[in-house]
Amino acid sequence: MLEAVLLGFLFSLFLVFSGSYLRGRLAVLSSLIPLSLFIYFSTFISEIADGKVFYENHEWVPSFGVNLSFTLDGLSLLFALMITGVGTMVFVYSSAYLKNHNYLDRFYGYLSLFMAAMLGLVLSDNLMSMFIFWELTSISSFYLIGFNNDKEDSRKSALIALGVTGIGGLMLLGGAILLGDVAGTYRISEMLSSREAIADSSHYVLILIFIFSAAFTKSAQFPFHFWLPEAMKAPTPVSTYLHSATMVKAGVYLLFRMTPVLNGAEIWHTVLIVVGGITMIYSAIHIIFRTDLKGILAYSTIAALGILVFLIGIGTQAALVAAAVFIVVHALYKASLFLITGIIDHETGTRDVTQLAGLRKVMLPVAIAGFIAALISGGVPPTLGFVGKDLIYESTLHFKDNAILLTIIALSTNVLLFYAGFIAGVKPFMGKLPKKFEKIRLPSPLMWIPPLIMTLAGLVFGLFPGLIETAVAKPIAMAQALQFEEFHLKLWHGFNPILALSATTLVLGTVLYFVLKPKHSLEVTIAKLDSIAPKTLLLNLSEGFAVFSKFWTNFFQTGYLRHYLFIVVSFLILLLGYLIFSDFSLSIDTSSLAELTIYEISILIMLLLGVLYTVFTKSRLAAVASLGVVGLSFSLLFLFYSAPDLAMTQFSVDTLTVILFVLVLYKLPKYLNLSDIRLRIKHGIISVSFGVLITILILKVLSEPKNTEVTEFYAENAYKLAHGKNIVNVILVDFRGTDTIIEISVLIVAALGVFGLLKLKLKTKDKK
């Protein structure tokens, strides 16, 4: 399975070097990649239908439990087939849709990168590798949404999508770490055994919040749904692939995958039902107010995702089967509708549904595909859509609480989805063909065959629901439910309330289609509510955060060294002062102190004179020199207190520092008063109080009982273990050698920083 995941990555890498060959007529060949993967995964169908599960494990960071472990069970197989199947269609379609595009190879590169990431996501059994693939899907979708990178709004929506899904990724990481902590493993299949421990853990609610946020942002649930309509700025094949069939279902997949692990408590069901319910009805109503075909499809996709979350929330076996079947249904009809919209857009140059009519006369095969797609979407028998809808009603009707309310929500959403499907799949082809569209010809078969194949598949699966039952529904039900009950998918259930509900949906949907016509005025009406839409609120929030961080950065990052020092030292003073004075007790044991000698007194006087002269002299050079005196006095002090190594280092460092200063200052004017008296007093107060605090601190350290364990260890072992007699040096090069390596690396970084900063400045000066 690792090879299957890597294939896409390798292909996009290959395109970096040899993409130019795939830009022309050969472009369609790249669809062989998803096709071969599709065939590869199809070979697993029969074994998985028998209840087998495939595992594969590659060690990555075993010490942290982060491994590339893959599982292929019913659920991953469904998603893998969908990703590669729809992927094949989209790859074929793109070769004609973006024909002769300058960056077609780049497009395929991003697309196969995305496909590989998505496959990795649905196959991962390890939460950490899942997180990595999850992030990869966000990143590759950023490139795909912003593919037309010369347009500003397309860049902006790519950023919005990346922002929203990126936050979700972070949440997933949080959830994964907490889950791994509670369960003691990152492997999802092993988490199943600690189900109770997870549900009883005090982190349970937090885990849910994290996992839900990840799933809701990715799957565009209310109130994070707004990035999806924005993402429609992407080329249509991208919208087809990412924003209807695969990526947005990653959140649904996560919830599906986590159902057996996390659905122990009532809150799991409540949150999912409420959020899913709000999302489906909210975005279904939005459909009415749209005239852009892609906008309509975007909102109907959000509604469909809402239905999926809602069904997972209901969580009975019937509901999970309904969700699984609906995933297939939705992928088939929504991908087809998007592709058809792409064809219309490509040929007519508009997606405005009020202008499109009568196109069946010029592109009949497309019209047929659109019609069947609308039938599937509306759940008209004998398509698979009908089977799917029956299952939804069955699960809402048999839910333990509020069955009526849930059924009504599901019913109204389905009616509106029926309407959306017919507006997008049927309306552009009906009626009289406007004059301006008469010259349009049928596009290349590469464009209209993919939607036709997918819609026909929806028809075939509807006529023979047994296919879906063995290949998809049963393995998933077995993988998800703790107790498996036998069931059969059927087109005809006999006369019962479910059939009545389905019929009602069809009737109401048809009525709505004929009564309600998409109008621009409706779009204008809804635009008035934009100021309170979640999108505006969240975007304002992020803008506010940007303003705040700008202020915050500007406040601290002034670029003046003295300002930084001021802030750092004042902060230290506050911290130290609080620490020292909150528990102030100081007793100095003078009896143990050594006698003050003449050496120390004279050094002290030198030090003081040096400091005073540095502060009060008006010449820079003199200040530097007297600072050197301070440093040298210190190295003398070190020498007297038997630290010759320190003294030597201090001596050389001081020499170099003085030289450095002199080098810089030599070129500057000699006498200048840079700071006024008030600033000096302020800095004086800060310095003096810092000095006093440090002195108190040292005195406090002295009054603590001395711990000589470390010193003794080194004194004893320096020669024994490291063959050295100079303890300081042995510590530096041997006992704590790794520290030294890092320190010299820091030194190099500092030198490179100085080099880069000054050389860069020299060059710009040269340019002038």
Binding site: P644, D645, M648, T649, S652, V653, T655, L656, I659, L660, L663, V664, Y666, K667, L721, A722, H723, G724, K725, N726, V728, N729, V730, L732, V733, D734, G737, T738, T740, I741, I744, S745, L747, I748, A750, A751, L752, V754, F755, L758, K759, K761, L762
Partner: protein, 137 residues
């Protein structure tokens, strides 16, 4: 600062100081000294030379850009760290020692090479900083 005395003195001081810095580097294991101080002394030797003769002269003596010494030193230090992993299957940074001491230098071990790396990095870094600043000042 081109005084004659300093100029002629520093021509002799440069080799003497460099030998002194190597001496400090080598004695570090038993007595005060070591790679860090040794490197600083060597750097001071070059800076002194640059002071009296001008930067360009020093550069011609150095042949290499001092920045080159930084990765070299880091490499030496790092190699001495992984040597025990490669040769004796011991953890990173374990000290390896030759059985017989060599005259003048004394006991040879991986720690000496590590210190040599530190020495080179310190020379490279301080000379890079000082040369860059004195060029732009």
């Amino acid at each position: 600062m081109r005084t004659l005395i300093l100029k002629s003195a520093s021509s002799y001081l440069l080799p003497v100081l460099l030998i002194f810095s190597v001496f400090i580097l080598l004695r570090g294991h038993y007595l005060p000294g070591g790679g860090f101080v040794g490197g600083l002394v060597a750097a001071i030797a070059f800076v002194l030379h640059a002071f009296s003769h001008g930067l360009d002269k020093t550069r011609t003596i150095l042949k290499l850009h001092p920045g080159f010494l930084m990765p070299l030193g880091l490499l030496v230090a790092f190699l001495s760290g992984i040597a025990p992993m490669v040769f004796s299957d011991l953890p990173f940074m374990t000290g390896l020692w030759a059985e017989n001491p060599i005259p003048v230098i004394g006991a040879i071990g991986s720690a000496l090479f590590f210190d040599l790396g530190v020495y080179l990095v310190v020379i490279g870094a301080s000379l890079t900083i000082i040369f860059t600043i004195s060029e732009s000042a």
